[in-house]
Symmetry: D3
Subunit: 138 residues, 6 copies
């Protein structure tokens, strides 16, 4: 039932879980804290459609006919060609948790730059920087 | 007549008026000052087409078959699905002056996130933050 | 509850209702029939996320803090700046049912062309043609 | 003065002139006739903003600090990366009249495909077809 | 070496191979023949950059750190959120050859509609139709 | 031969050359250093496709049927309508080196704002600021 589901504030919960999995660099921490804070305020504003879209987001990237890992790769490439840095960071984090390798990430970057063109390059620079930041945490 | 009209530098004028209506937080002030400064420099560069586009912008969001308020809502949702943070802020300010309520703003956000997808979420976070900043000024 | 809700296949239902409201020109009929046929096949493919997005779409454009009519105008301008002809047609139909006038539609077109630029013009030509087709049905 | 200027219906006029310059293949004729017919209906709907945007469009691609020819190349590449087939056709026609060579057009296509990515390829196929149609008219 | 590589006209070759793999419905055949014809003309126009982009396209969707199948899924979702029907068809064909199942395709559609919003729905309708056309050929 | 070519890391090399041509303001220096650093890391990650796209980028904006200067103007307008600030800065720099005048740059801005709409205005403000920064270095 949708109301009950969204009560769980799924996005902010998942962020809290994440921060327990590995320690955070300042850059990563700043990104997450802002996202978490504003997601909470967005959900607090109590618009049903917004809450259901958040809920849907949580329920999409799960194992199904495709694995959660494959769907995160899809979410990553879609975020890159649409050039949304925050979305890219989010999917990079989940890909990192799901043990995607750097060579695989680079191949996602390659598809994104081929399909989306050289305007994707600046986002790729920032994406690589964020990925290497994630790697440096281990 | 266009030349005379654009002489009025409509965009920068309206910004000055705005700053007299309500006091500004630092975040809002910084956004407005940069916009105002650069708009002046853009108009000073004296390209006719640019000046006419600025003029057109001023003349679009006025009462007509639709109210100025309704057109500002249209401008806001268009800016959101096209994911232009500065445009979003601008329309949020005018919506705020025109007494749009937070619940109504949230419904604009809902349409934008539905039509434009989850890549609109990061812009919605920043939009809500800016809106609440505007509310805190009263 | 989401499963039960989506069982109603909301989008195809609403299309059937629409076709009873006013007779259809060939152009309009062709558009609706294809949409209806493919929506049914999409829902029949039984992907939960797709079904919930369709459901969400139905539940967004309803009276709330903003009226259904205002939200349809938002949906229309968003579809125009994102340049989706089928989405434009869909919102034009609903706007027409909700008694939006031609002058009001033209003002939505104006905002869309201003914000989205002259690349919106070809879509505006097709949108006007479709709108006048709808008007000719009365 | 803007009202007087827009009375001239600049876009439809320029289309009529064009059709006198060189004979038209069926494909080209169909495109122009639809555009001309709908531009007239758009202008007849008498929305000031729409009329001024049309007017602006006419006044942009003229000799200035850059030549009309250079601006048409800019309009073409912008239309390609934004993937608007009708806009592409329009600028191809003007480029053709302004004696742009096929090798030069191919270099515009190259920049568009590089910057905009492989999603520009299908538009490039149609653009080349239209260009070769224009060449076949001489 | 790039010149030699591009001599092979990789894209048109791969289309000829494809047509030998399974018989074609009229819709599919029409799409492929136009693409093949225009690709040949594009390559014949002999622009180095265009040829290298085509070549790059061929060399991207191959087994590497990610499998060719995974990259085709990435190409498909990128094409969907960027709303390029021809690109979608192309990747659907390759996915079909690589034994992607309908349930998996539906999950790619789901991610695309979630990330890209309801403006992706019309493209999803056409994508499903094309996919079912491909399935009907076996 | 592609492998050998990409060994030269063309993008980062050209940045080093640039910094010898004229002294850098802090803003310009910061932009270049980040780009250079991350380009090096991107190339070090050794993905063939990414390297070839970088290589292609270097080989596109050279004299041919159109001059390098004309192609830079094309790259600039494409970057503006696609609203990529970093790409805009890059092309502004090269235009500046190639002696494009401010009036000409303003006409590129005009085409970009006309075709791409008022959502291009915020990027135009930042573009003008960067251009004037470049001018102040002489």
């Amino acid at each position: 039932m949708y109301e009950a589901e969204s009560e769980k504030s799924p996005l902010s919960l998942s962020f809290q879980n994440k921060s327990q999995i590995f320690p955070m660099s300042e850059k990563i921490q700043e990104f997450r804290q802002y996202r978490e804070k504003m997601n909470e305020r967005l959900l607090a504003a109590d618009n049903k459609i917004i809450k259901r879209i958040f809920n849907l987001d949580t329920n999409t990237y799960v194992d199904g006919a495709l694995s959660a890992r494959e769907k995160e790769l899809l979410g990553l490439v879609a975020s890159m060609v649409l050039r949304c840095d925050d979305c890219i960071k989010y999917h990079l984090e989940t890909c990192f948790e799901l043990k995607v390798t750097k060579d695989q990430i680079m191949e996602v970057f390659a598809v994104a730059n081929l399909v989306g063109g050289t305007i994707v390059i600046p986002h790729t620079r920032r994406a690589l920087e964020y990925w290497e930041e994630l790697e440096s945490l281990i």
